[in-house]
């Protein structure tokens, strides 16, 4: 009996291969986009975990020096004073991050391998072994040091003992930081007493790489989910249609005594097989998507956050299993309502398939109510705000609410058009389009979401780029930036440069905790350059004159938001309480920043000397001066960066950041285009009974085909018009809610009408392309096919 039932059910797919194709492709695409993004995220997270495991970053308190270099004798002095600290030296060599540590004093778990292995510890100490991935070790040209390949070490990093690191980095007697072990003796001399020039930093809780990059990954995940949702719309449509068309078979089977439960089980098993097949294809495609996206993601994370991730993709079991699970879960989600209807369907229900395209007024009312509720929730969440999770919940409510509202709004617009139609063709066109709406609504929802995502993300990216470009123009005012190798060279450079340029602006900074948060303290010289270019988002009266007089400080937006600081509040910098006189935008900086004038900076941090300089000069003289510095000073190429170079680099990093989202945008739009094509193709076969009478009454097939294209254009245009405000709302949420919560700064929103017009043209083109095939099919339908509609024996 089961076999006979299955045969009857499966015969549907044999007779409707296009529907099966739609179902499998829709689910495969949805799974591919989702699992592709997940693969990228998993790879990046694995890299962070490796880095965190290796270095214990963020887990321990650390002692640092304002200039970044701790003399080794300070370490010895601290150990003698009872401090349980372990030295670390870091530097870059051949593009690889070299980290030297002391295996004997390092905390447990620090390092690539289990250092309780005494033989290995001894080996590290006596022979200077380099640990790293094969790629990192190959890149390192250091001679005569034993190398051990270790997958536990983060990509682009090499670990060794501190002595070998000092040798490799030519940093004799220098350390970068001291790790403070969690357990310290009760009695120890105060740090200020032993090493007053050093600073103790508490374990970081908000600034480590994983947290910094979390928002980036959250963005990617949100896009993956959005793409998956678009794909599930296709799946839902295909499954719903298959159920409708199989109603007569189902009724007949039940009338012949086939048990309902077994019928449901058979259909569920059939869907499980299809979803596993599509899931497998999707996971395979996802691997391709991830492999294509990963290099850009790696470049983005490296450029933006300094986080190194592996550039190669691994097939992790949890990843492909989750891909299959989401395919099965998505199918179950899409099939739930159909299975429920089947379970509830009375045996004597009409054997004729219901008009699939028709939708009851009650359902439309329910949909309108749900849409209004979700949009109301989105507005309420925008007013409440407060966390990244709420921001994304708001996005979800906004997008789903708008998608549900779309058919209702389109129905009203088409009814309005029909009421105002004058000619008979116009009247039929509007009324017929309205009738097609329920059948096309899932595809149109997919198009709405894809377009809104495009509008939203392109507005966000373009606003970001515009702000960032303006910000770079403000900040990178100096024509040339020069870096000295040490304090002595810095002093000589300052004297050499003073008569040759308009102004030498020393750049000096120290790292300190401010308002309980990690921050950089900068001490620029009082100069017109800063007054003219550092524009405040908020400021106290006479902010610059007061800052230049040492009466207060300016802070960046990140510090203001995270520390809850506003104008007039006081912050403590090196035991001095200073009022906040200005808050400035500081886009792209992950941590807080404080700006005090150079005079005050020298008072607060007398040991710090500027080793970097911004040079104000004629732009045309930059190359000549750089040449002189090379000749007269032996300054290396890396020690001089001209403004144009720096801007180009910054913009390159920026543009890479959004390559991934742009790629996902295109893919999502493509999936939506596919949804429209499949819906139109499916409807085309069902529409013959509606079109044949019109043809019989004197309309040519070619004209009917052209009208079908016009209908697709109209619906795409209407959807685009509705996608625009939705996309702008999405952009606003990303800029004013998500960005603030994720990065700590708010970006101004700009509008880009030309971009939106271009996107609308693309959407209409996609709809025309999708409509061309069914329209061509219709215009070439043989009269005998159309006549079957009228056949009495039909």
């Amino acid at each position: 009996m089961t076999r006979a039932g299955l045969q009857a059910l499966l015969s549907h797919w044999r007779r409707n291969p296009l529907q099966l194709f739609t179902l499998v492709v829709g689910l495969s695409l949805a799974t591919a986009l989702w699992s592709g993004v997940q693969a990228v995220n998993a790879e990046a997270r694995a890299s962070y975990d490796a880095a965190a495991e290796t270095l214990g970053e963020g887990r321990y308190a650390q002692i640092t020096a304002p200039g970044g270099v701790i003399p080794q004798d300070r370490y010895i002095a601290l150990r003698r004073a009872g401090w349980r600290v372990s030295p670390v030296l870091e530097g870059r060599l051949d593009g690889v991050r070299v980290v030297g540590f002391d295996p004997l004093t390092a905390p447990n778990g620090f390092g690539p391998v289990d250092l309780s292995d005494n033989a290995l510890t001894l080996d590290v100490l006596l022979n200077g072994v380099l640990f790293g991935t094969a790629e990192a070790l190959n890149r390192l040209g250091a001679p005569d040091v034993a190398r051990v390949v270790s997958a536990q070490v983060a990509p682009s990093m090499v670990l060794t003992d501190v002595g070998t690191a000092q040798e490799l980095l030519q940093a004799d007697g220098q350390l970068s930081r001291l790790i403070v072990l969690p357990e310290q003796p009760i009695r120890q001399r105060a740090l200020a007493e032993v090493a007053p020039d050093l600073t103790l930093r508490a374990p970081q809780t908000g600034g480590d790489v994983a947290q910094l990059t979390d928002s980036f990954h959250l963005n990617l995940t949100a896009f993956g989910l959005l793409s998956f949702a678009v794909g599930i719309f296709i799946v839902h449509g295909a499954i719903g249609l298959a159920f409708e068309q199989r109603r007569p078979v189902i009724r007949t089977l039940r009338a012949l005594g086939f048990p309902l439960r077994r019928l449901i089980a058979l259909i569920a098993a059939e869907l499980l097989v299809i979803s596993l097949l599509a899931g497998t294809i999707g996971v395979g495609l996802g691997y391709v998507v991830a492999a294509a996206l990963l290099p850009d993601v790696a470049a983005t994370l490296d450029g933006l956050y300094g986080a190194s991730i592996s550039g190669t993709l691994q097939l992790r079991p949890d990843w492909w299993l989750s891909g299959l699970a989401i395919a099965v879960g998505g199918t179950a989600l899409a099939a739930t309502s159909s299975l429920w209807q089947l379970a509830q369907m009375p045996l004597l229900a009409s054997a004729r398939p219901r008009a699939w395209a028709m939708q009851s007024g009650a359902r439309r009312l329910w949909q309108a109510g749900a849409a209004a509720g979700l949009l109301g929730l989105a507005v309420a969440l925008s007013l409440v705000g407060g966390s990244l999770l709420l921001g994304f919940a708001m996005l979800a409510a906004l997008l789903i609410g708008a998608a549900l509202a779309l058919p209702v709004i389109l129905d009203r617009v088409l009814a309005f058009g029909a009421a105002r139609a004058r000619s008979v063709m116009a009247e039929w066109f509007w009324a017929d389009t309205r009738q097609q709406l329920p059948g096309l609504s899932l595809a149109l929802m997919a198009l709405l979401l894809a377009m809104a995502a495009n509008v939203g993300v392109s507005t966000m990216v373009s606003s970001f780029r515009l702000t960032f470009t303006g910000f770079l123009d403000q900040r990178l005012a100096s024509e040339l930036y020069v870096y000295a190798d040490d304090a002595e060279q810095a002093a000589a450079l300052a004297a050499y440069l003073a008569p040759r340029v308009d102004q030498v602006l020393p750049i000096q900074s120290v790292d300190q905790q401010v308002a309980g948060l990690p921050a950089e303290i900068h001490g620029p010289a009082a100069h017109e350059t800063y007054r003219a270019h550092w524009l405040f988002l908020q400021e106290a009266p006479d902010a610059w004159p007061r800052i230049e007089a040492g009466q207060g400080a300016a802070i960046n937006e990140q510090l203001a938001r995270r520390g809850g600081l506003s104008i007039g509040d006081e912050i403590t910098v090196a035991d001095r309480r200073l009022p906040v006189l200005g808050i400035y935008g500081d886009y792209g900086n992950p941590i807080g920043q404080v700006l005090v004038t150079a005079t005050l900076f020298a008072e607060l941090f007398p040991a710090v000397r500027a080793e970097r300089f911004g040079l104000r000069m004629e732009a045309g003289d930059v190359s000549a001066l750089a040449e002189d510095l090379r000749d007269d000073f032996g300054l290396a190429e890396d020690n001089m960066i001209d403004q144009a170079q720096l801007k180009a680099f910054s913009l390159e990093v920026f543009d890479r950041t959004f390559t991934v989202t742009a790629a996902l945008n295109v893919l999502t739009l493509a999936v939506a285009g596919f949804a429209i094509l499949m819906s139109l193709l499916t409807l085309a076969t069902m529409r013959l009974p509606q079109l044949a009478p019109v043809w019989a009454q004197g309309l040519t097939r070619a004209r009917l085909g052209r009208i079908e294209i016009l209908r697709a254009v109209l619906l795409a245009l209407l959807t685009a018009v509705l996608a625009l405000p939705l996309g702008l709302a999405l952009a606003w949420t990303l800029l004013a809610v998500v960005n603030v919560e994720a990065f700590g700064w708010r970006l101004p929103m700009f509008l880009f009408p030309l971009d939106y017009a271009r996107l609308t043209v693309f959407a209409v083109l996609a709809a025309v392309l999708a409509a061309l095939w069914p329209a061509r099919k219709l215009s070439r339908t043989r009269p005998s096919e159309l006549l079957k509609v009228f056949s009495n024996e039909r």
Partner: protein, 218 residues
């Protein structure tokens, strides 16, 4: 002569090669004449009706309407012919579900630019549809839907009305009423009426009857 059909042949592809449906049909009709086309299922009645209405093309032979050879017209020409000169009533009604009854009735006349609102309104009254004009087809009974289909055809005042089992889905009493109306209105507009039917009772009410057997006039 309103209609002249000469040596008409038509076949359809079958599993064992072309399956001949019409094997040389000749017939003539004058304006205002009513003609019943009877025969068993598969005898070619509907196919002949479709060829006469320009809905399909013959393999050979000619169909001339008011002296115009339909086979010589292109797709657009045949569409114009259907719009302006022919009206078809189908057994399945084939109304346009997205339009109201009023719009369905005036649809073909408006397509051909021949709408006469007074005539359309009169038709709706005489068909007993005056109270149903704002409704949609799905809200009507089968008999009402067929009356709308007939009204739609007559509203355009076609020269030739082709009816394919127009009462096949109706009960006997309703069928009689519908046919009476068709005959009455066809006579008023001097239109020719060619009706396919299985019913000898209905065929007897037509001016003339032709019986088809295996693709030939018996």
């Amino acid at each position: 002569m309103l209609l002249r059909v000469t040596d008409l042949h038509k076949s359809f592809p079958g599993p064992d090669g072309p399956l001949p449906i019409l094997r040389g049909i000749d017939l003539e009709m004058r304006a205002g004449e009513t003609l019943a086309l009877t025969g068993e299922s598969g005898s070619g009645k509907s196919t002949l009706l479709h060829l006469v209405g320009g809905l399909d093309l013959p393999d050979s032979g000619t169909v001339a309407l008011d002296g115009t050879d339909i086979g010589a017209l292109d797709d657009a020409g045949r569409a114009r012919l259907r719009r302006d000169q022919v009206g078809v009533v189908f057994q399945q009604f084939n109304l346009i579900p997205s339009l109201t009854v009023a719009s369905n009735i005036s649809f073909q006349a408006r397509l051909g630019g021949t709408e006469d609102p007074v005539w359309t309104e009169a038709l709706a009254h005489r068909m007993g549809l005056a109270d149903q004009l704002a409704k949609y087809p799905e809200q009507l009974s089968g008999g009402q839907q067929q009356r709308v289909a007939i009204a739609r055809t007559l509203a355009a005042k076609p020269r030739l009305i082709l009816a394919d089992e127009p009462t096949g889905n109706l009960d006997e009493a309703t069928a009689d009423r519908v046919l009476a109306l068709m005959l009455e209105l066809a006579a008023e507009t001097d239109a020719g009426l060619l009706m396919v039917t299985h019913s000898q009772r209905l065929a007897a009410r037509m001016g003339r009857e032709l019986h088809l057997r295996a693709g030939r006039i018996a």
